[in-house]
Symmetry: C2
Subunit: 564 residues, 2 copies
């Protein structure tokens, strides 16, 4: 379901219902740009990678947000998905107070979107706006000031003095002799003139009120009762405005409050942008970011990470873990369970809408179910044994046919004739017989099967296996990586860097105060040769004399740690 | 005529012809944003205003460029206009080398464009790309390197070593025993694998060439002759690519080379953006910018400045000088001359397309003709005397009707029946009898009437009458402005600022080393009172003892300068 700015308000209850009822939520974003140009090194430290992502959130924006909820439907023995696609544009919904938002676009990123038939007119004309928490506060404060006439004075241009004097003369004449006129109108040509009139009435005409109309300002004297009524109306309108101005953040707030599993594919950058754009700017330190993100989304699962980390899946799927590849691979027989259907009200995605955020969220959530159903079958094959069935009789034909052709949804099912209703048929719910995937326990914690993957997300081109929102990351055992440990002292990073620089361009990443990881993007010699040379250098280097330095491969390091 | 990325190449000759044949060129731009948020002071110095504009050019981009050429057509006694509307988008036309362009959008600016029905899909999908002079050089250099196989080596990921080894084995096997195969194909999955193969063939297989095909790389041994042919083809393709990649800059280069009058409305920001986006980044110093801009566009005319500076026009038009107002006002009888028609091939703008850049350029050029025709009539009324005409006979009716209803073009003219051709009629050219506006002399210099307005453009909210690309600007005589002159010494700006700060927020702008202008945004007292107080302060201030400071109003300053 595509949600435009114009429909957003009306669709909020449906969105809330989908979040409340579901088992988990998949999401995906499209962005106005990816990285600052010319600085993406092939390999980097975790802290630098986070800094890069954080900087990206300060520049680029989410242009499209896809959310797909998945709910297990017991009577029909399948999952029902509801996919929402939101274009997001930082305009002001009410048009009254506009946060002056400036954002960056990367031409290449827009080119990329255009290859996916992104509709830029829908983006600007129909994109849903939003306010962050801080912006909401500023908005309310500004609006309150306006309500209480606390606006700062503006200077009067010489050119406009005759206009202002004429207006004052007109008001004075009306006060002196109102005749039958209950009000006086001042014609204005622009916003500046309007503001001058408001200011003049506020300052010099106590008891009079000025209200903007199309092209003129209506000035009148209100009774105490009328004034109160006016005040009340303005306050109510303000609250409604603000409620509406929060806009898309409502959806994110609801997802967060639900504490449900949030699924993405290669989702670290998505999570960074979602938090920075809709909640608050990202903190400078990666540890603070981890805590913030985990507070907002307590159970994150990354399908890219799952498919690369689960040995059983690796065997079957190989090293390619793009969403396209996973979608293709999980159409195999081994990933038959569970059956997933789009809710009939959300028919938009029955046909292929690849790379629209809403569709990608749907695909991501589907892949998650397929992967964990497969893992569950590996661990509990007895659950998935097909019951011994008699050879199909003529009556059964259609049903079994459906079970084996899950992906040809539209072709096989016959449209019921709407003019012919059989009461008995209406009672019957077809059960697709698929098996629910155990993701969460009844206590609201991840199942044993899910737990190893929760809050770990893919992070490539570093020395780490993944990015972990809760724990310390594990180190990849690869031959271009060394560990330098310093007994009793803080490791001398500059010295280590200089020594390793003799054999290529090293990247340093901190493990703890006394330990650093050194990664070469490009290893020019055999690992053992370099190790030997470095050990010699260390023993001869005067700067190393005060440090008891231990140089190890990652495997050696892991063994040492295990043995401690 | 709207020119899309897809049509651009084919329409270049028509664009060139329009520029070459015309009397002058009007232009207009639409931008992705206007100012950095929250820093626009109401009044500022000229240097700061330029700095602000310059910074804007580093952030925002032209999204639409409108150009309208105007050519006097002697046989028909009217001007013929050709309006071009270009969506501009910084993609790469060829897709081979993409300058990674990042630009800013101001949400408000896109909102503004959307109110004018701006088509954001046309912008991204069909916008014409461009290269600046420096980008063109870098593009050519990069392309040359690629052509000569001078690309830097990329490191080999551990994961890809088996892939690379398998490829090498296959090539080696083919070399050892080619059988009947003239080539060997290596299947690749992504750009990284392709680049690895190119690199390996280049480094380890002298005499073999690798060429990309869809999904695989074809490796073969070419003869000397084939190699030369291949080289030649690649070079030719490169030159064509580059020619095409220059893209929209061609149009700007042609306008510049024509040295024709370039007309805009409130055009300072347009000129800044045109130069910065298509030619080169703006220099830090305003004086250098003036020289650069004047070299590129030697004759600029700003219709906003003309309408505000010409006393005869001011009387008639008043202080409102927006393009909308000028368009409306110049439809009066006093601005009847000259007749302007859109070339029939450019019919897009017969109906109103207000605020599309191409239409605004058309309107701006039309306003220019109307304004200067009016001024010409004031100076040479004899030229504009209508000849004594006999009362219209029945035959004349249609013709005179047309002359008085210039703006109802489509209604009055009858479509000729295409099936019925009268040879005599074809020879006849209707003469609308309007009078050419004398803008340039035959020597290619501005006429005496035009000269006072050439290269002066509107610059509001400063102490200056205008921005002058060639000379020093004149100071506005207004009561919120003071001149401080220091005899024999450099004026002590900080001291002056402190003294004036006692009476409001002063803005200082330099006239020369010894003279500053001080402007108050908001004058809190009568000018003479403040003058008296400041003179007292100056006489008592110990910091002023060493300086012989003269405080004057602008009028006093002007008188003193005149008397020197």
């Amino acid at each position: 379901m595509e949600i435009s700015r114009q429909q957003f308000r009306d669709e909020l209850p449906a969105i809330k219902a989908a979040i409340d009822e579901c088992d988990f939520i998949a999401l995906d974003t499209e962005l106005s740009g990816l990285h600052r140009p010319g600085t993406s090194k092939r390999i980097d430290s975790l802290a630098n990678r986070y800094a890069e992502y954080r900087e990206a959130t300060e520049r680029f924006i989410i242009t499209q947000f896809g959310m797909c909820t998945f709910k297990w439907d017991q009577p029909s023995g399948r999952y029902i998905a509801k996919a929402f696609n939101f274009y997001i544009f930082p305009t002001s919904m009410t048009g009254r107070i506009q946060p002056n938002r400036v954002f960056m676009c990367q031409a290449q990123a827009l080119d990329f979107l255009s290859k996916q038939a992104f509709d830029f007119n829908k983006w600007v004309y129909q994109g849903v706006p939003y306010l962050t928490v801080a912006e909401e506060k500023a908005y309310m404060e500004e609006a309150r000031k306006k309500l209480n006439d606390e606006l700062p004075d503006i200077p009067i241009d010489d050119k406009e003095r005759p206009f202002l004097q004429a207006a004052k003369d007109k008001i004075d004449a009306w006060i002196a002799d109102p005749k039958d006129d209950v009000c006086v109108n001042i014609t204005t040509k622009n916003a500046y003139q309007r503001r001058l009139i408001y200011q003049e009435v506020r300052k010099s005409y106590s008891g009079l009120t000025a209200e903007g109309r199309g092209g003129f300002i209506l000035i009148q004297r209100l009774t105490e009762k009328q004034l109160k009524q006016r005040e009340k109306e303005r306050k109510k309108r303000l609250e409604e405005d603000c409620e509406q101005a929060i806009g898309f953040r409502k959806v994110i707030d609801w997802i967060s409050a639900s504490k449900k599993i949030v699924v993405g594919h290669n989702m670290l950058l998505d999570i960074c942008h979602v938090i920075a754009q809709f909640i608050q700017p990202l903190p400078p330190k990666v540890q603070d970011f981890k805590k913030l993100a985990h507070d907002i989304f307590p159970h994150m699962i990354d399908t890219k990470y799952v498919s690369s980390a689960a040995a059983e899946l690796q065997q079957l799927l190989g090293t390619a873990t793009s969403l396209d590849v996973l979608t293709f691979e999980t159409r195999r027989e081994a990933f038959k369970n569970p059956r997933i259907d789009m809710d009939w009200l959300f028919s938009r995605y029955i046909s292929d809408k690849a790379h629209e955020a809403g569709y990608d969220a749907y695909i991501t959530g589907s892949v998650l179910l397929k992967l964990f159903s497969f893992l569950d079958a590996q661990q509990h094959p007895e659950k998935y044994k097909e019951p011994e069935e008699p050879a199909p009789t003529e009556d059964d034909d259609q049903e079994t046919g459906q079970q084996n052709k899950e992906w040809d949804i539209s072709d096989t099912e016959e449209e019921p004739d709407p003019n012919w209703t059989n009461d008995d048929d209406e009672e019957e719910v077809h059960n697709y017989g698929s098996i629910k995937v155990p993701l969460m326990t009844e206590q609201g914690t991840p199942t044993e099967m899910l737990a190893p993957y929760v809050n770990k997300v893919t992070m490539v081109r570093t020395g780490w296996e993944y990015f972990d929102f809760v724990d310390t990351e594990a180190i990849i055992e690869q031959h271009n990586t060394f560990i330098v440990h310093c007994k009793d002292k803080t490791v001398p990073r500059d010295t280590v860097f200089n020594i390793f620089s003799a054999h290529g361009k090293p990247v340093l990443d901190a493990l703890d105060e006394q330990t650093v990881m050194v990664i070469y993007e490009k290893l020019q010699e055999d690992q053992q040769h370099i190790m030997d040379k470095i050990k010699t250098q260390v023993s001869e280097d005067p700067e190393c004399q005060n440090f008891d330095l231990l140089i190890e491969t990652v495997a050696q390091y892991h063994r040492r740690i295990r043995d401690l």
